[in-house]
Symmetry: C2
Subunit: 620 residues, 2 copies
Amino acid sequence: MTTQATAALQAEVNRLRLEVQRLQTEQGSQKITIGNYLLTRLTQLGVTSMFGVPGDFNLGFLDLVEDHPTINWVGNCNELNAAYAADGYARVKEHSIGVVLTTFGVGELSATNGIAGGKPFSEMVPVLHLVGVPSTAQQKTKPMLHHTLGDGRYDAYVKAAEQFTFSQAFLTDKKNAASEIDRVLVDCMTVARPVYLSLPTDLVHEEISAQGLKISLSRHPSPNDVEVESFVLDLISKQFKEAAGDAVVLVDACTIRHDVRQELNDFLRNTGFPVYATPMGKTAVDENYERYGGIYLGSISRPEIKDKVESAKLLLSIGSLRSDFNTGNFSYNISTARTIELHSNYTQVQYAAFPAIGMKQLLPKLTERLACYCDRASKIHIPQYTSPIPKEDNDLISHTWLWPRVGAFFKPKDVIITETGTSNFGISDVPLPEKSILVSQVLWGSIGWSIGSTLGAALAARDRGLGRTILFVGDGSIQLTVQELSVMMRQDVKPIIFLINNSGYTIERYIHGKQRKYNDISNWNWTGLFNTLGDSDGKLSRTYTVRDKTNLSELLDDVTFASGDKIQLVEIIMDKLDAPRALQVQAQLSGKTNAYDSKVIRGPEGEMDDIRNTVESNVD
Amino acid sequence: MTTQATAALQAEVNRLRLEVQRLQTEQGSQKITIGNYLLTRLTQLGVTSMFGVPGDFNLGFLDLVEDHPTINWVGNCNELNAAYAADGYARVKEHSIGVVLTTFGVGELSATNGIAGGKPFSEMVPVLHLVGVPSTAQQKTKPMLHHTLGDGRYDAYVKAAEQFTFSQAFLTDKKNAASEIDRVLVDCMTVARPVYLSLPTDLVHEEISAQGLKISLSRHPSPNDVEVESFVLDLISKQFKEAAGDAVVLVDACTIRHDVRQELNDFLRNTGFPVYATPMGKTAVDENYERYGGIYLGSISRPEIKDKVESAKLLLSIGSLRSDFNTGNFSYNISTARTIELHSNYTQVQYAAFPAIGMKQLLPKLTERLACYCDRASKIHIPQYTSPIPKEDNDLISHTWLWPRVGAFFKPKDVIITETGTSNFGISDVPLPEKSILVSQVLWGSIGWSIGSTLGAALAARDRGLGRTILFVGDGSIQLTVQELSVMMRQDVKPIIFLINNSGYTIERYIHGKQRKYNDISNWNWTGLFNTLGDSDGKLSRTYTVRDKTNLSELLDDVTFASGDKIQLVEIIMDKLDAPRALQVQAQLSGKTNAYDSKVIRGPEGEMDDIRNTVESNVD
């Protein structure tokens, strides 16, 4: 029996033990408050920071958090930022979850975008949304409290939460509080999605048995059915045989989210197959691994990568998440007949789907079956994945130059965060060092996310002993969530923030409205931000403005700067109509799909032509 | 027939004409795009500014907005702030609506707190939430686009919107686009609640008949049934007779929201009854009106007001909204047997409810019936509603001193905005000048709301030729939404912002956790904000820090400052544990209801006593 199957069984055993114990020890002597039961569970899961905003239905619980010996309360400036921070924390912490605490109604709704779609759900990030709600007595009588809708519908928020979280627990009684808490926590870990838990003010201090805490929670992935799994393995083996081992592996987001990185790496090293990644799967496999070929993005891929991936006889896809921006607008040119997909909870071979055959247990067995192809597979040519710094005939900072240049600045174990927009696309062609982590939000794509996420990511990186936290964000995006810089300083994290000042929403300009005023923003005094947001004597931070390649290169080579000993912000002045190659193509495809161009647009004359010519004139 | 009943009938006639015309002119020759049909409707409703953030499913529509001759596109820093701004605009503009435009998924969820609960719904503010969504073709095939949840559930946002908006229209076809647009707009005006309208990218430029636009939209309040109304009038008359005219009027929020201010004032002047207001009804009646007695807040009221209101034989309540913070935590000491309530869509006399008898048409008839009590009613004593500036023995700025002092600074037609927290409570005891407007969010109470709302309010005030826009906000609250100061400067509005720097969330400290760290925030360099957020050469703005009464008084007396010729921010340094009287009592009551004190709290020793002693030691 494999380690993975054993772990699945062990998880089931633990779950049953817990249930048995709970039934046996209803009257157990050791007591704990519900609030502290929850905090103990979170500690067991490795949670060391909790994000959120105090509000008058969560203050009692916050007493417990503040007094907790190992959980750090990170008071955020607002709830959306807090949700983004919990998301960033969960992405970098790994094998743990992010937690955001808000108050009833106002607070929880402000967090919705961060939680629900935010990315946890769509992007599969395990985040617990804790909501302090009115007491159980008030939930019954439903008075017109502040933060309510004034119509007695106390359940309206819950109905909204149901849309955006995988599971919900609304505590109403101390009797089932422990099992409800455990249920949503296990869901959160197992499916890697956000969950919702409401804490009525009065229940926080109610006492329950502490016995259950002796058994740790563990993921409960469904064990694969032995017979079906064996059938699937035979089928996949047959495919590889027919392809004579001419296969490539494509790694995507769920490899990271569903914790199969180790199994995948064992597979790759034992079989020798070439491996590529999608934008969302970037850094799931070390980008300096000798059999790694770079980023595949459908028709937007570098030509040599596109050719290698699409000409293989077989594609083994691991944990795919096929969104528009993750696939070059759905432009994979690989037939399903040549594709095998492994997912967390099903497997697909050509056109046949096998529910409940998950990759965590399947991969090690596949490694055994396919190791025999190692000699053959190791000889399949892969393009060299490098990104040389181009020589350009002027000193202005271009995207073509910027990304390879910062690529040379990265170090192993760096945590690199890219905002939706030019940065998400710019980073894709740059190989990142070993053990570095790329954090980005390709599917949900909520602008402003990266600022909050950087706070959470930096705290998790500190916990894990990782390297620097480095953020790339545009001037439009940072305006949404800028206040969180203040919390970074209070929490003493020291990210390096590269702020691309390109005078507005450049990604939108590429999709539509290149010269439109609605894509403009106010230009801020970016280098004044830290001072205004709390570093009044200038001891905590440093800021820079760079306008040309020479200046930026000098800064990147500066040892003190590179050490990341303080929080730093580098304003990079760039042209408002410059963008990475991949973005230009993607945006044009999105704009077309939106049918902005299919009708006469009553805009300034010539705009239509501008848009049509975008790609032709800008792609190099 | 009264003017109000005629108006109701006329509205119905218009509605029917529109329907007839639409049926007749399906093939009408004059065409207009759906996007411009909507913009024309908004213009007819008096909309001159539209708030929001561009996103890749609303860019096509934004072309039309930017090219529109009379609608000003206010690009906000983020969607929540935009929703707050639309709310502030709607509150001050009157007889119009606020409009916020976001993109699908990410953008709309970020706005949810501003829209849904934000206050429109609970506080009855007419706001249209416009959402640019994927094309009708994509809505059918449901690809995994960015900003989607990745599971094909394109309707998840809609389900959330249903919780928080009064009505929704999801355009899917050009055939019924005009009638769907009209339906939600009429709902928005009629019920004074938020509504939701989705605009698929492709439909924006589809052409439809423009005929319908010749007939303006109007509110469609249900006409009162003549027989029931007459019965109700008799019943109310009987009550007044039995009370021998010993009655007081209590004015609340819905008087403003449901547009009965004129009818109410006619009633008051013709009958002479004493009138009081709730916090949410403040400024519905001019506070210098000679028969006005001040603010009634249940047990938190000034004793002489409490006595006068509660000892009257009859209470005529107009447009009430009985939330906790609007009623002194539900502490009205007036029996239902002595109460008559007029609402927008029903009337309640003692224990009897009369559905569909609305106050807009009832009030003028009641004026006729009750004018006979004028001599008697005019003699009922009312306490003098003044707020003299107290002499205190030190120069520190206290809440007891601050509010009467700024009361002397206000001028007629000022628009005064108070944030949830100390400001909302501080303003309640200060009489405001005639024609001034108080804007506050007592029920929903979402901190940070006032910054966005001030932007919208200032734009509406400029439209209406009102006076200065003056905001009171705390240092904790402004951190949530601070970036909108940048948009104020770009839009050239010039509010005076009084920023109460009291080192954190003072309202929360009073509810619970007086000395807790979770109620602390980072102290910012407040006077650096304008410079950092766009006023790099300092020409647009002025900032001040005042630490004592002398300084603040001098500033308030300064003619240039008072003229409001630039945007200005005054940082007022105050003690973190000082709060207005009403807040101290209210917070204590809320804390008790939340049962924070009902169990042993494992906080720093002595905290429990601190909380219990709060009111005793702080109330003056």
